[in-house]
Assembly symmetry: C2
């Protein structure tokens, strides 16, 4: 099998031939058709992730065909077109992941390879309307967005949601899902180009958070949103506390801008705010996410696609954060 | 009518004779038997509350007898023994108060007086098992505790709740209610005497937050609580983020220690925490709180009682923060 290998921090990614994988009991091998990058993969290449083990085969997102199965796996799975739920060992509690929870790709072998080994319960039939590239783009960011918006955010048709950092994988899926269920979607970005793209996809309005008074402008034009989905945190979090309507919810699925400078608890209790953390999602969340995608024929927004041999270019694209939607890596046909 | 009047900031409280109150349509006059202090009253005397208007008649808590009624109020209310819901104009939404919401006592005339005027819907029959002093001690802090614990915290029988700053009115009611529904209750205080008192009332354990490793000690002895009810915020809030179990909830009803130094959003999203603000409560919350109190024959913990003429002593007792439970002010018999 071909694998993209990170041998140590800051070293270039290498494509290596490795031994084929052998499925144990309950496991399947997926021969991958396409994979996709997540910010997590990039951070690991930068040494900015807890518990990195080298050599690492990165990649959490993938779609392909079940080619081999271990003992006690239904034989009818062989040949099935699937995408992979990258959450391993979530456990039985819907409200949080178990302490054994892992994300596919480091420390285990990931999807930036010609094949990957996963528990049989982690593969799901590929929604028929999706191409291989689209299917590969969906899992991690789609799951994270679905849980943040629907499960933790309790998003409701007709409500207004503010989604920060549009263009990012999770933010863009959150917009897609919110529009699908009939929400009014407001977005932010530091790029006017991304805001314009979001509007063309259905966002009601976009605000450049690099401007001083974007919060006031949003408030005067659209009122206070009762749901905010944020992956940034940082100094901008204070603006979100101001913007959230009384009784409103802010779901955090990341903190790319670091810890908030200050959280004004007076605002939190007087406005009866709900600040909810969310990460990835359960197998149940994944099934519900796929159901939403299939019912509405939703398609992931793909920014660009690379062949596996050009994997370094794919990571450079992510390093620049200019993408709108997912970066997909296709296997040679 | 006699009233305790604050004429300006830092001036001594004076007892004045004022004109009797006249009920308008839908209003009732309650001849008060007892009142109780809240931290809010003390803050107003210190000028530490938004929008203070002088002269002010303070006091949010009271119980007494309906003595006069305005037009369109059922005549059967006259002579009824009642306690008062101090939340005015909550509005129709259970999840937050309307922008017209006010708390009884500044800017309106409060309960530190021989009588008080309130909308008829703000009086409820006094639970029969409560004395006048106990009934007066219940409303504001009981309502705040009930909403924080039960409505925002979704407290469940058998779960563990950590209640910070035990001895404070809201914290002490939260403990009473949590024990009544069969929760395991852990408490904190900077006073070992208060911790000891809390244990004698049913708390499973108490931790002095003035010690360095109280959080670690709690964790090793009782695991991580899935619900925390906090009125302090401040630097200690970070410890609460560590202590809350994955999927756990921290309800904030106050921030007497100021804004948290830092909120680690990574912890919030990775642990799938729920940080919920709560203040006072709706009329519906008030009814449910009274129902809980009546079903379980619960009695407010009263720290000390004063006659109205000694009101200055009552405020001094609050200034020292040494009380465990409520400070009650009784009318002359």
């Amino acid at each position: 099998m071909k694998s993209v290998v990170l041998t140590k921090q800051d070293s270039p990614l290498k494509i290596e031939d490795r031994d084929s994988l052998e499925p144990s009991e309950g496991q399947v091998i997926v021969s991958l058709k396409a994979s996709a990058l997540n910010r997590r993969d990039y951070w690991i290449t930068q040494g900015l992730y807890p518990g990195i083990q080298y050599p690492a085969v990165l990649g959490s997102d993938g779609a392909g065909v079940v080619s081999r199965i271990g003992a006690n796996v239904d034989e009818s799975m062989i040949g099935l077109d699937v995408l992979i739920n990258p959450g391993l060992n979530w456990g039985n509690n819907q409200s949080y992941q178990s302490s054994d929870f892992q994300i596919l790709g480091m420390p285990g072998l990931g999807t930036l390879a010609s094949e990957v080994l996963v528990p049989a319960e982690n593969v799901c039939p590929k929604p028929e309307h999706l191409s291989w590239s689209e299917a590969a783009a969906l899992p991690l960011a789609g799951l994270t967005a679905f849980r943040a918006l629907m499960k933790q955010g309790l998003a409701k048709t007709g409500d207004t949601v503010l989604i920060t950092g549009i263009g990012g994988g999770v933010a863009t899926f959150a917009m897609t899902f919110a529009l699908a269920i009939g929400m009014k979607v407001l977005v932010t970005s530091s790029s006017d180009e991304k805001l314009s793209k979001a509007r063309s996809l259905g966002a009601a309005a976009g605000y450049n958070y690099g401007t001083d008074d974007w919060g006031k402008q949003l408030k005067s034009e659209h009122g206070m949103p009762n749901l905010i989905v944020d992956g940034a945190g940082g100094a901008g979090y204070g603006v979100l506390l101001n913007l959230a309507s009384p009784g409103g919810t802010i779901v955090s699925y990341g903190s790319t801008a670091g810890a908030p400078g200050k959280v004004d608890l007076f605002k939190v209790f007087w406005k009866q705010l709900r600040l909810i953390g969310s990460t990835m999602g359960s197998a149940n969340d994944f099934d519900e996410m796929l159901d939403l995608v299939s019912r509405h024929n939703l398609r992931p927004v793909i920014d660009c696609q690379f062949e596996m041999e050009n994997i370094t270019d794919a990571f450079e694209q992510m390093a620049e954060s200019r993408q709108f939607g997912k970066i997909v890596v296709n296997q040679p046909v």
